[in-house]
């Protein structure tokens, strides 16, 4: 038990990553109750103001919901969707660590999803953000 506790204390980053993943997993599974299925899920460790970009193919007429969860060090995470030419087409409107973005493309194409760690509570630490693309 002591060894387990020590190992947990020695790896705070891992614990934070798990926190973000657990939050996201709950949201993904809840989504199945409203018809959304998960397509992909990814995690990123970011500094304040840092971002990660994912390229995705989205089908015309399919309803997409992009979900993200930051760990408790993330004060505000943001999601932005860009089309193939780099034009911004959607953005989440929340000011918290669990942003959501919905979009239904008119044409099948590739899009860029950017996830930003806009605000971290403790600038001395990184923040972990897990992001999922769900669809129905």
């Amino acid at each position: 038990m002591h060894i387990l506790l020590l190992s947990l204390l020695a790896t705070p980053a891992r614990a934070d990553e798990d926190q973000a993943e657990t939050c996201l997993r709950t949201k993904i599974w809840d989504g199945y109750n409203t018809g959304y299925a998960v397509r992909t899920s990814q995690k990123a460790t970011l500094n304040q103001g840092g971002h990660k970009v994912y390229l995705v193919t989205l089908y015309a007429g399919t309803d997409y919901k992009v979900l993200a969860c930051g760990d408790t060090n993330v004060g505000n995470a943001d999601l932005v969707l860009y089309d193939h030419s780099g034009k911004q087409v959607a953005q989440d409107s929340s000011n918290d660590r669990e942003p959501v973005l919905q979009y239904t493309p008119q044409t099948t194409d590739t899009y860029y999803i950017a996830v930003h760690a806009s605000t971290l509570n403790d600038l001395g630490k990184q923040g972990s953000v897990s992001t999922a693309v769900t669809y129905k």
């Binding site: 992909t40 899920s41 970009v53 390229l55 399919t62 932005v80 000011n95 669809y135």
Partner: protein
């Protein structure tokens, strides 16, 4: 800390900003006797805009940054997503009925071939999870497990497959819950695994799943005679380019595998077709034939 500070600022600032205006209003009212005061003129001093709690939007990323930084692991749609999109495109019937029984070897020495085959079986699992018999489902999961072991996926995923298999066998998991588990395995767990077989394993597993899904979609479109759906469902030049990059990578074990050579040829043909602005029914038939040529070699 950030939020509470912002909230406090929001409450205090408007009151401070209004103080000069209030003083001006009271002065005018005091000097005017009973005569109604004219409307107060705006103060010369500019009124400070109230602070809102809306966070600044994240910086807009330039196209060059998006292209340079984008991770491609999320690029390909899942087979289940293809099925859903196909229904939305007006082609009913589903893909599960088109899935064939395959006798695939997942314990061969060529890891590239194992990765592609594992992706194909995984796609079949995802597409038939609700309708397949218990025996077929368990057999497909056993193949996925063998593939994962051959690729060196570690212990967790094979253990998860064992657990799912046990729950299927004793009817303690619903098919709806199994859909969630397999979606998660395909889209979240496998892409994160560091395979002993190397970085090529994940994209080649994805290539196998995408190839199987595309083959079935092409068959359904041809059967429904709906070429418009071909453009919507099968024209994915970036996805093809992503897979081609890995198939062509130096070090690929192509010498001992006709499968990978055929896969490269098929992907090059698909890239040629995907370059068209719209696909015809003949294009869709060609996609079906090209993907068939890889799948039959497996």
């Amino acid at each position: 800390m950030f939020l509470s500070l912002s909230s406090r600022t929001r409450l205090v600032t408007p009151a401070l900003a209004l103080t000069p205006m209030l003083a001006l209003f009271l002065t005018v009212a005091a000097c005017s006797g009973d005569t109604p005061a004219p409307a107060a003129k705006p103060a010369d001093k500019p009124v400070q805009a109230p602070v809102t709690t809306a966070a600044a939007p994240p910086p807009t990323l330039a196209m060059s940054d998006l292209a340079a930084e984008a991770q491609n692991v999320t690029l390909a749609p899942s087979p289940a997503e293809m099925q859903k999109a196909m229904e939305k495109a007006g082609i009913s019937g589903g893909l599960s009925k088109l899935v064939q029984d395959r006798d695939l070897k997942l314990d061969v020495s060529n890891k590239d071939v194992v990765a592609v085959r594992t992706g194909v079986v995984l796609a079949d699992c995802l597409l038939t999870v609700k309708e397949a018999t218990k025996e077929k489902l368990v057999a497909r999961l056993a193949l996925v497990k063998t593939g994962m072991n051959t690729l060196g996926a570690g212990k967790d995923l094979p253990a998860t497959i064992d657990d799912l298999t046990a729950r299927i066998n004793n009817d303690s998991i619903s098919r709806d819950d199994l859909v969630k588990e397999l979606d998660e395995m395909h889209g979240a767990i496998i892409p994160e695994i560091q395979f002993e077989a190397g970085d090529r394993s994940v994209p080649l597993i994805q290539a196998g799943s995408w190839l199987e899904g595309s083959n079935l979609v092409a068959a359904a479109i041809v059967a429904a005679n709906k070429p418009d759906a071909g453009t919507q469902m099968l024209r994915q030049p970036e996805v093809v380019g992503y897979f081609l990059k890995y198939v062509k990578t130096e070090g690929a074990d192509k010498a001992s595998s006709g499968v990978i050579t055929q896969l490269q040829g098929t992907l090059e043909k698909l890239q040629e077709i995907a370059a068209k602005p719209a696909l015809t029914l003949d294009d869709v038939k060609e996609i079906k034939a090209q993907t068939d040529s890889v799948l039959t070699l497996l």
